[in-house]
Each structure stands twice: as structure tokens, then as C-alpha cells.
Amino acid sequence: MSLYDAYIGLLSLILLTCLASLSMQRLRPLIKTVALQGIAVTMTTLLYQQNVHFLLPFIMIIVKGVLIPMLLLYTLKKVSIKSEGKPIVGFHASVLLGILFLFMVIHYSHDKLSKLLADQSFSFSVAVVTIACGLFLMMARRKALTQVVGYLIMDNGIYLMGALFLKNIPFVLEFAILLDLLVAVMVMGIILHKINETFNSIDTTSLATLKDRWHE
């Protein structure tokens, strides 16, 4: 199993987790898939970049694989609702949309941008699909927790795009980005608790009172 096959395998694993997250209704497996995706992304960066500081992938796996999912599961335990309920765009429809988008991106990056991306056109399309899937989750689901998960998926996609093209970002900056992601998720978690206390549901459609009224 050469290095290249492992690399393609990991990328396809990331794609699978994306499409799975689109189709899931219950939140607990959703968080687990995001954790898996985090680990897969760190493994691809490890494979791809040779001279990476030895400590970086280790810390990333701990943060993305263990710390953030535990935090989200803890918030999930506090919140009574376990499943997505009725989403804005149905699950089957989102999966179909995901597949359609994937075909479009691969076709486009293969023939149009091939000269630009040379060998990484497949990984570029995977990164784009992950970002799009993260955004779609935030737009198409009602529960606030799924929006946080969507944000995490989008972040994984961006990090994947970064890792592919940038060989040698200094360690401290990588660590700072990771720290920001962690703090972002923590703050979102706190706010989720508050929403649950005041609205006793984490349905974002109830958060819609603030808008401009036409005052005669």
C-alpha cells in the first residue's frame, strides 16, 4: 500500500464523512463523524508535509478528535433534544445535492483548473466540497448545535485547503489557529447553554424577533 494510495484513501474517508453528516438526523452520531473527519484531516497533513514539527499532529488529534467532541457531547447531554427534528432542507435532498455538487466540482477542477493545480486537483475538490458541506449544514438545519458542527466541518475544509498548498507554515501560527478554533467552539457552547435556558429549545427559527419594521 504505497503512500499515494493511503493519501487517496484518507481523502475519500473525508468525503464520506461529509456526505454522512449531510444525511444524519440524530446529533450524537453527527458529532462522532466530525471527530473522525478531524482525525482524517490531521493524518492527511501528516502524510503530505514532510518536515512537520513532531508535536503538531499529536496536539491536533487530541484537540479535534477528543477535546471538541467531548465538549459538544457534554452540551448535548445538558440539552433535552437529541435529534434534528424537521430540517429546512430534507436529509435525502441534502445528500443528493451533496453528490451533485461533488460531481460538478470534480469535473470543473479536472479540466478547467488542471494546469493550475497539477497533481492536487482531487484534493482541492475534496477541500471545496467539505467547505460547501459545512456551509450547507449551517443554512439548511434548524438546530443551533448542527450549525456549530457545520462551522467545524467548514473549518476542517479550510484547514485541508491550507495544508495542501502551504508546505511550511511556522508551528506557532498553526497552534494559534487551532487555539482560536477551540475557543470559538467553547464560546458557542456557552451560548448554546444560554439559548437552551431562555428558549428551552435550540431551534434557531425561534431566534427571529430582531428585524426592521416599517414604521408609518
Partner: protein, 468 residues
């Protein structure tokens, strides 16, 4: 030694913020609030030292012209906000005051980090930090609507900033393509150095993502929907800081990348984009200001409009850049003084509705005069600075022969001026139906606003005398 000064300016508020978190609530009595005043003064002192010594700075922090001015602006606004906060929160319980002060210091630290960041990714981290830190500030009133505003603020801004990170990756990549081997130094000066040789396509794509990303943070048109909610729900001194200081930092990001693109082979690629975003945000601001019934949302939309003017000015470039420079300074001074005045209004009328307010001229002369002068300055009255900045931008636009853009800009500016003036007249002169308790006896603070307006007036007169 002076590099240490740079680090001190950022580190001081961050550490103080963390310490105030750790202090137990009962120990944090009222006297300790003076500690916060002291720290704000120290921060202002440090900024003045920096402006005096002009340290060269290392790879992570450096002093730049616009960065220094923004830092000075942020620290003065912060000092005024803290003073106003003390008076504004005198009836809140100690716990919320402690938390608010802590988050404010972290906010100050993050913003000073953004103005001094030399490394592009450190700049991104600092902006992300400002968002995370200012979210709880918006939530200080703990009402349902403020919770909703916080949620929208944090989600939309983090998405925007994630796009900005993607944009920065593209910019860095266009640099990495031409020097694959050795260690990249991601400082802005390094980028400007290599700008002409950088890859054109990735740079343009990077600018688009940065513009959309930081545009959301700055409140440009299609991405502005969080700004009115966040600024109207936050307590007045906080929304003054948000409007006055934070939007400028976001603009700093766009300006830095736009400068890099300007120097590269892409030339004036982003100008057309910036002008269209500027005009779009002025258009959106006009639409939502016309029949607005909440004066804080009105001011928030006027911030959207002014940010639109700034984007419009940078897009034009040339002489208009001087106008943008002046507009940044004066808009933050005048807008923060106006937001503090709305604090007074809220205390007097107990509601944000314009229809439920009136006769301010009889109830409280002090805030009436500050409101009138502030709106006159915001609208572009001659002795104040915004008159000169709009003049520069118009001159730049006309010299670039952008005829229909200028006429659109002027018509919308006129409509906005009329709405602002009619609202001010309604609040200060129309009779008030006597329902509800109108008590203006509480001692309301007006001298911080007057100080800010005075700064703007002095700068305006400086331009005027310079020109006679």
C-alpha cells in the same frame, strides 16, 4: 527596547482581563473599578510612547502609519467608554460589572493586537479573538433579543473570518509558489517586497475572499445583517466601541491586502469591487433608515453607510484615500459620541422607540445639545472633519470621471442626511405623550461625548486653517 513596548501594549490589557476574571466577586468592590480607569490611562500612555518612539518592530509586531493612528483612536475611545460605562452601569450588580470589565479589557487587547500585527496570520488570529471576546459583551443585558443578536454575531462573523482565513491562505500560496524552498516570512512588509512577482490569479482570488470575509466583519452591504442587531442590543458604551473601533480594524485587514494587490501585477483589480460594495452598502443603509423607528438601529445603519463611504473612497484611490483616512478618524469619534448619547436617551425615555421619545430639548438640555451637534457633525457640517472627507472623496470621484457613481452617492447621502435630521428634530422637539415615567433628574454624563466632538472639531479646524 521599543519592541518590548509593542508587546506591552497588547499584553497589558489581556493579562488585566484575565486577572479580573479570577478575582472573586465580593473582593471586586466599587473602588477596584478605578483599577480599570488606571489601566485604560496606562494603555493610552503606552500608545503615546509608541507614537513618539516609532519602534521598528520584529516579525510578529510592528508599527505602521495607519496602525498607529487606529491604536491611538482605539485607546482614546476605550478610555471614554470606560468612564461612561462607570456612570452607565451604576445601578447594575457587581458581578455583571466585573464580567463586563474583564471582557472589555480582552477586547482592547485583541484590538491593539490587530493594529500592531505584522504577521498576516497573527492579524487573522487577533481579528478572530476580537469576535470571540466581544460576543459576551453584547450579551451583558441578558435579554432574549440580546441573546439572539449575540448568536447571529458570533456565527456570521466566524463564517466571515473563516473565509478571510481561506483568502489569506491563497495570498500566502501566491507567495509560496515563487519561493518554494526556504522558510516563508509572512510579514506584510515581506509581502509588499515580493508583491510585483507574486502569482496574479491566486492573489485576486485571495483578495475576493478577504474582501468578503473582513467585509462581513466590517458590515459591508450584503453581509451586514448582523451589525444593526448587535449594535442596537449591546449596551451603549460597548456599541460605541464596536462601531468606533472594531469596524476600523476590520477595514485595516482589507486595506492591507488591497495595498498588496495594488503593488502586485494585478494593479487596480479590487477598485471596481470595492466601489460596488461601497455603493451597495450605502443603498442598503438608505433603504432601512428611511422609516426606522429605533434610534440605535438608525445609528447602526449609519455606521453601515459610513463604512460604505470608506470602501467607496478606497476603491477610488488617489486623492480620495486622504478623504478615507480623515473619514475613518472622524467617523469613529463622532459615531461613538452619538452612541453614548443614545445611552442617555435610553435612560430618559426608557425605550428605544423614536415614537415614544420627544421634547428632549426641555427634558435634558445637555444631551439635546450633544445630540444636535453630533448629528450635524455626522451629516457633514463644515467645521467638523466629515465635511472635508466627503469633499476629498467627491473630488477623487469626479477626477476619475465616475459620473453616475458620484451622483448616486450624493443623492443617497442627501436622503440619509434628511432622515437623520428629521429624526433628531422629532426626538428633540415633538411633544411627548406623558405615558410612562420620564425622569431626567439622574445625573447623565455628557462630557465624554463633548470631548470626542471637540477632538473632531479641533482636527476639522486644523484642516480649515491649513487651507486658508
Amino acid at each position: 527596547m521599543n519592541n518590548l513596548l509593542l508587546w506591552a501594549v497588547c499584553a497589558l490589557p489581556l493579562t488585566i482581563g484575565l486577572i479580573t476574571f479570577l478575582i472573586p466577586v465580593d473582593y471586586y468592590k466599587r473602588q477596584l473599578q478605578h483599577l480599570s480607569l488606571l489601566v485604560a490611562l496606562a494603555h493610552l500612555l503606552f500608545t503615546l510612547f509608541i507614537l513618539f518612539f516609532k519602534p521598528s518592530g520584529d516579525s510578529y509586531l510592528f508599527w505602521s502609519g495607519e496602525g498607529g493612528v487606529l491604536l491611538l483612536l482605539i485607546s482614546t475611545l476605550f478610555l471614554m467608554a470606560i468612564i461612561y460605562l462607570k456612570n452607565y452601569f451604576h445601578d447594575q450588580e457587581v458581578a455583571t460589572i466585573k464580567q463586563c470589565h474583564a471582557w472589555c479589557f480582552l477586547f482592547l487587547g485583541a484590538m491593539s493586537l490587530t493594529t500592531l500585527a505584522h504577521n498576516i496570520i497573527l492579524f487573522w488570529v487577533a481579528i478572530e479573538l476580537t469576535t470571540l471576546v466581544s460576543a459576551p459583551l453584547i450579551y451583558t443585558h441578558k435579554s432574549k433579543t440580546s441573546l439572539e443578536a449575540t448568536w447571529k454575531y458570533i456565527i456570521l462573523c466566524s463564517i466571515g473570518i473563516a473565509f478571510a482565513l481561506l483568502g489569506i491562505f491563497f495570498v500566502v500560496m501566491s507567495l509560496a509558489l515563487i519561493m518554494p524552498k526556504e522558510e516563508l516570512s509572512l510579514t506584510f512588509s515581506n509581502f509588499i517586497l515580493y508583491a510585483p512577482k507574486m502569482n496574479r490569479l491566486w492573489l485576486e482570488l485571495g483578495l475576493i475572499f478577504v474582501l468578503i470575509g473582513f467585509g462581513t466583519k466590517m458590515g459591508l452591504a450584503p453581509m451586514h445583517s448582523w451589525l444593526p442587531d448587535a449594535h442596537s442590543e449591546a449596551p451603549s458604551p460597548i456599541s460605541a466601541l464596536l462601531s468606533g473601533a472594531l469596524l476600523n480594524c476590520a477595514f485595516l485587514g482589507i486595506y492591507r491586502v488591497y495595498e498588496i494587490v495594488g503593488k502586485s501585477s494585478a494593479g487596480a483589480f479590487g477598485a471596481e469591487l470595492l466601489i460596488s460594495f461601497g455603493l451597495l452598502s450605502i443603498f442598503f443603509a438608505t433603504i432601512f433608515m428611511i422609516r426606522q423607528n429605533d434610534y440605535k438601529r438608525l445609528l447602526a445603519y449609519s455606521s453601515v453607510e459610513n463604512m460604505g463611504i470608506i470602501a467607496f473612497g478606497t476603491g477610488i484611490g488617489g486623492i480620495a484615500l486622504v478623504g478615507v483616512y480623515i473619514h475613518l478618524i472622524h467617523h469613529s469619534l463622532i459615531k461613538s459620541s452619538l452612541f453614548m448619547t443614545t445611552g442617555n436617551l435610553l435612560k430618559i425615555f426608557k425605550s428605544k422607540e423614536i415614537s415614544k421619545s420627544g421634547e428632549l430639548a426641555t427634558l435634558h438640555q445637555g444631551s439635546f445639545s450633544v445630540l444636535l451637534i453630533g448629528v450635524f457633525a455626522l451629516v457633514g457640517g463644515p467645521p467638523f472633519g466629515i465635511f472635508f472627507s466627503k469633499l476629498y472623496i467627491i473630488i477623487g470621484a469626479i477626477s476619475q470621471k465616475l459620473w453616475w457613481q458620484t451622483s448616486l452617492f450624493l443623492v443617497m447621502a442627501a436622503i440619509i442626511t434628511l432622515t437623520l435630521l428629521s429624526v433628531t428634530f422629532k426626538i428633540s422637539f415633538h411633544p411627548l405623550e406623558r405615558g410612562g415615567t420620564i425622569s431626567a433628574d439622574k445625573k447623565l454624563l455628557i462630557w465624554p461625548q463633548l470631548f470626542l466632538l471637540l477632538c473632531s472639531l479641533l482636527l476639522g479646524l486644523y484642516y480649515l486653517l491649513g487651507s486658508i
